[in-house]
């Protein structure tokens, strides 16, 4: 069909919008431009899918300061000695070479939403038609009295993977015999709900071998946590008597630390510890605040497209966004990235847009060959991303199934990382 004025006016609004969008967007600067900030689970996936599926019709730039991205997922397994650090490091070579993504290793330090430009720390600015933000998390200042980011070498968080993970692992391995490891767990909502408890399992796994009289204390501001029954059963089976979980009901929400003295005070009682893993309360990566798209600690989005509720030219993915029922996980970020990629392509090139659907599965390793999982499917409603259906591993499952679950998680890791980086 040829489009003349009459048929054009006669077409539905939806079609008219998708036909006119590329013309408007393309005006003045050639191919429509998408800038992605953050090359993690959300950002790398979004960049790859937009570049791959638009087949060159969209100019995609990915801004990420680090040359090697260490996945937080499986960083606990590294701590437990099940993975090498190098096996969880990924580079951006394929995104650039195979998919034509412009990878810029720099920090984004400012966003001008009116001019639609992103400023880089190294100078210069990049224009965008659509901006995708997937900067992960930062910590809430003053969340744990006595701790701030300058104390992260004495009391590591290891909640961004890489050198922090290495540091914490080294500290655990050099604990004195019979020493004490303390974790200060974060309040909801936070990145990877089962993450702290998988970490404790991995720490216990190391200590059981090397330091069997050591103790583990968890000070937790929450009264319950993800996969609680499964972890507690597993801790009883594998690490009996080693782990002491102090929940909110027992004062775990009243904690203070002293990084110089290496003490932790829980509900008024001071304890000297040898290693202290402080995981403070979290918020969206700072760049979201700088862009003025946060409401409280997170950036609210519409589940249909992952568009910011404050600026429709910006999509926010992963841990940084407030979307509804999905846990903050790498799986979720990857799933959301595909919905955003489809919406962005639809808006910029008029490609088909299908209803958003999401899913998530989080595996955790409790001890050698003892894996558990929790998962769910979700769909977008006008209000939020809503959970539709779900499942969780059961207590008392046999060893064979637990081993299969662990092996499956290794398959998933290979799958998601090739889905992110090509």
């Amino acid at each position: 069909m040829t489009i003349n004025r009459r048929t054009f006016l006669g077409t539905s609004i939806g079609v008219a919008a998708s036909l006119s969008a590329p013309m408007v967007m393309g005006a003045g600067h050639g191919r429509p431009k998408v800038v992605v900030i953050g090359g993690g689970a959300g950002g790398a996936t979004a960049a790859r899918y937009i570049a791959k599926d638009s087949k060159g019709a969209i100019d995609v730039t990915l801004i990420e300061p680090t040359r090697t991205y260490y996945t937080c997922f499986f960083s606990n397994l590294y701590m437990g000695g099940f993975r090498e650090l190098s096996s969880i490091g990924h580079t951006y070579g394929k995104l650039a070479a195979d998919y034509g993504v412009n990878v810029v290793h720099d920090w984004a330090v400012g966003i001008d939403r009116d001019a639609k430009t992103v400023t880089l720390a190294g100078g210069g600015s990049l224009p965008y038609d659509r901006l995708i933000l997937s900067p992960g998390i930062d910590f809430v200042d003053g969340a744990v009295p006595g701790w701030d980011v300058s104390a992260q070498n004495k009391m590591p968080h290891a909640y961004k993977a890489g050198s922090q993970s290495e540091l914490l692992k080294a500290q655990i391995e050099s604990m004195p015999q019979g020493g004490t490891f303390c974790m200060v767990a974060p309040p909801n909502p936070f990145r990877c709900p089962p993450g702290p408890y998988e970490r404790v399992s991995m720490v216990a796994h190391v200590l059981k071998e090397k330091n069997p009289t050591a103790k583990i204390i968890i000070a937790d501001p929450k009264a319950k946590f993800s996969k609680m029954a499964l972890f507690q059963e597993g801790w009883g089976n594998h690490y009996d008597g080693m782990i002491d979980w102090i929940g909110a009901d027992f004062g775990g929400d009243n904690v203070q630390v002293d990084p110089d003295a290496m003490t932790v005070t829980i509900d008024g009682e001071e304890t000297k510890v040898d290693v202290c893993n402080v995981i403070p309360a979290m918020k969206a990566g700072r760049i979201c605040e700088m862009a003025g798209i946060t409401d409280g600690n997170w950036a609210p989005v519409s589940g249909h497209t992952m568009q910011s509720r404050i600026d429709e030219n910006i999509h926010v993915l992963g841990d940084a966004c407030a979307q509804g029922d999905m846990p903050k996980s790498g799986f979720s970020a990857n799933s959301q990235a595909k919905v955003a990629a489809m919406a962005v392509r639809g808006a910029l090139t008029g490609s088909k847009v299908f209803p958003a659907k999401f899913s998530n599965t989080c595996w955790s390793l409790i001890d050698t060959d003892d894996g558990v999982k929790v998962g769910a499917t979700y769909e977008a409603t006008d209000e939020k991303i809503a959970k539709v259906d779900g499942f969780i591993s059961k207590t008392g499952e046999n060893a064979e199934l637990r081993q299969a679950t662990y092996e499956e998680s290794i398959g998933w890791y290979a799958g998601i990382t090739s889905d992110m980086f090509g």
């Binding site: 595909k338 489809m342 299908f354 899913s359 499942f391 090739s418």
Partner: protein
């Protein structure tokens, strides 16, 4: 679509409604089943002194865990089903005899399947005599008709929209690698459409075990499964 009739018959069995028009008292005729068992007998033994041959002994098969023998070399596919907790109840036995690989990908049972529901019912009635748990078999025939509205020939003939298949596939590639690598999750590229559709429906109907796949398949429509089969089937 090829083998349409075969696929339909297989599906009827997968829904477990295969015995609808059979006798009211029994699942089948054990005497006729004994004759039909000769085809199985090339590979299987049953009864006192039975030993493993090409296939494992079939004594006590009803409500036996799948792939239970330590001294028999099973395929990886059937061992995976065991780890997922599959048990040989009537529904699973019927699905397996109908089309072994629709239930168990990569099974070593190189047997085309028994397309006739009556034949399967008779063989199973014969095998039941060697089982300790006959209470697992419903004595009365199911009342449901052997029709599943969601898998009519029209449904099976649906040609998937490739764009839609590509979008839907992105949900799968978080776990299944598009280049077909295996690192703990099976490869799903380059399958025949029929096999793929049957496997997905077997998850959807919770006949194949595995909570993730049951959940994901559970919310896919017939069109979506067709689109996915077309998309992944075309990948090398």
């Amino acid at each position: 679509m090829r083998y349409l009739g075969g696929v339909c018959a297989a599906w009827v069995a997968l829904t477990g409604a295969a015995f609808a028009e059979e006798g009211v008292e029994q699942i089948g005729d054990p005497v006729r089943g004994a004759e039909l068992f000769q085809v199985c007998g090339e590979c299987h033994e049953v009864g006192t002194d039975a030993a493993h041959k090409v296939g494992p002994v079939l004594n006590g098969i009803f409500f036996r865990k799948v792939a239970v023998f330590e001294d028999f070399e099973y395929s990886d596919g059937i061992r995976r089903a065991r780890r997922d907790g599959m048990v040989w109840d009537l529904e699973h036995l019927d699905a397996y005899l109908n089309n072994p690989k629709a239930l168990v990908s990569g099974t070593n049972m190189v047997f085309a399947g028994m397309p006739e529901a009556k034949d399967r019912g008779d063989v199973l009635a014969y095998l039941r005599q060697f089982s300790d748990s006959p209470q697992d078999i419903p004595e009365a025939a199911p009342t449901a008709k052997p029709v599943d509205v969601s898998l009519t020939p029209e449904t099976l003939a649906i040609v998937g929209d490739p764009d839609y298949g590509e979008y839907l596939s992105s949900e799968c590639t978080t776990c299944h690698q598009v280049d077909g690598d295996y690192d703990g999750i099976p490869a799903i590229i380059g399958w025949y459409d029929e096999d793929f559709v049957l496997a997905m429906h077997a998850y959807k109907q919770k006949i194949r075990p595995h909570p993730v796949m049951q959940m994901l398949a559970g919310r896919l429509s017939d069109e979506e499964i067709a689109a996915l089969a077309a998309y992944f089937g075309a990948l090398e």
